[in-house]
Subunit: 250 residues, 2 copies
């Protein structure tokens, strides 16, 4: 099994090293990741500038390739110009921080997996729900397990699995649930500050507003110490509204 591994925290992030180690036990791993951190870049692709590819070594052996672009760039470039064939699967992560609810849309980690889905390659995005991760060991095991299940069962074309793992020891994890995307959103605040020259600048901050009555959502399940596995796709059509607005006489 040929596994293309990427992320959005960059090729030096502990999460991608843990992921590569975990997946080497079940297949051939090729790492193509952004040279620098690309958190919250969404599905950005680089068209106005060229890209360069650099080899990275670890303990004297090739670890992988970095691209000076985005996670989606890494998948396109990795498949087209580095591997030069379709891998069996793409696994993106392990992300430092949750990618649940609306964060799926902002996430570079999820976008790498989504780019794979667009290219008809089965894909998984995996995150641990903290920016200060204690250990990636259990998340690495989950990544390998879900990868094997996807290899065995297949995935519908255009679909990827978005996996979120609570930042807990394995013994405290309650189980694994198939989930939907939560409707929780960020309450954004731009903090205004003054630079040393007296001019103002704004810095994005905020907190996730939980939704009370959700049941099987990613956010609700990780909050209850379950691993959440959400299948997502890139057909964004709102079919209900599609029917509703036909009578608008536009």
């Amino acid at each position: 099994m040929k596994i293309l591994v990427s992320n959005d925290d960059g090729i030096d992030a502990p999460g991608i090293h843990a992921l590569a180690e975990a997946l080497k036990k079940i297949g051939e791993v090729i790492v193509v990741a952004p040279r620098t951190e690309q958190s919250a870049v969404g599905h950005k692709i680089t068209m106005q500038n060229p890209l360069r590819v650099t080899k990275h070594f670890k303990n004297g052996e090739l670890f992988g390739y970095s691209v000076d672009g985005t996670p989606a760039d890494c998948i396109k470039m990795g498949i087209r110009n580095i591997i030069k064939e379709q891998p069996d699967i793409v696994v993106s992560g392990i992300n430092h921080g949750a990618n649940t609810a609306v964060s799926i849309i902002y996430s570079g980690t999820v976008s790498a997996a989504r780019e794979a889905a667009i290219m008809d390659v089965p894909a998984i995005a995996i995150s641990v729900t903290s920016h200060d991760v204690d250990s990636f060991d259990y998340a690495g095991k989950v990544a390998a397990r879900v990868t094997e299940l996807v290899a065995k069962n297949g995935l519908a074309k255009g679909t990827l699995l978005n996996v979120n793992v609570p930042n807990l020891p394995e013994s405290e994890i309650k189980g694994i649930k198939v989930t939907t995307q939560s409707k929780a959103k960020w309450d954004d605040i731009y903090e205004e500050r003054i630079d040393p020259y007296g001019k103002s600048y704004f810095w994005l901050t905020g907190s996730l507003i939980e939704v009370e009555d959700e049941e099987d959502t990613d956010q609700n399940m990780v909050r209850q110490n379950f691993v959440a596995v959400t299948p997502i796709h890139f057909d964004l059509t709102d079919y209900k509204t599609y029917e509703d607005i036909k009578h608008w006489n536009i």
Copy 2:
């Protein structure tokens, strides 16, 4: 009616000036747009750097505000720190180039409208299907018409309308259709080139592969000289796969 206008081609692009002009006839327009071109940035938001806001003038009057970030940043910042209240509607564009099919995912113009939908503001993204637009007059009329219809009928929370207008004179437009997102994809090619120092770099290019048997899709309709209006949302859950994988025993 308070209308927040943004785009991804930047505050100096002809498309946003045409859009602001067209919408001033039906409401109060506030322009908050990226300072520089942000095509294909997807739903990137700026968290690692601060943002600055600059006023722009046109014929001695305030035209709008630029933000040195992405289209999604402009919507968040525009609503939270510039208007400081929910506008009645957000209109993003007029984009130079089609935003049909998978391009919806890469588009900054669509992401601006999607960010509004996330913030519970009805939103429209509008594009003309050419990078070399002859006239924005008809697209401006369509933007005003669809804006009035959304104001009158409302839109489901979390839904936006993605409008694509063929680059043709009004007399050659065959009509307006409610459409779904096409499954057409880009055949990506990274052109390898050699820099003046003998090192290689890669530039993304490619062409859209049409899907033959589509009927009511955005791409198929604009190809037949119709305006395409596609309702899209940001619930990415693939509900079919959600049911299918429950028996996987993860």
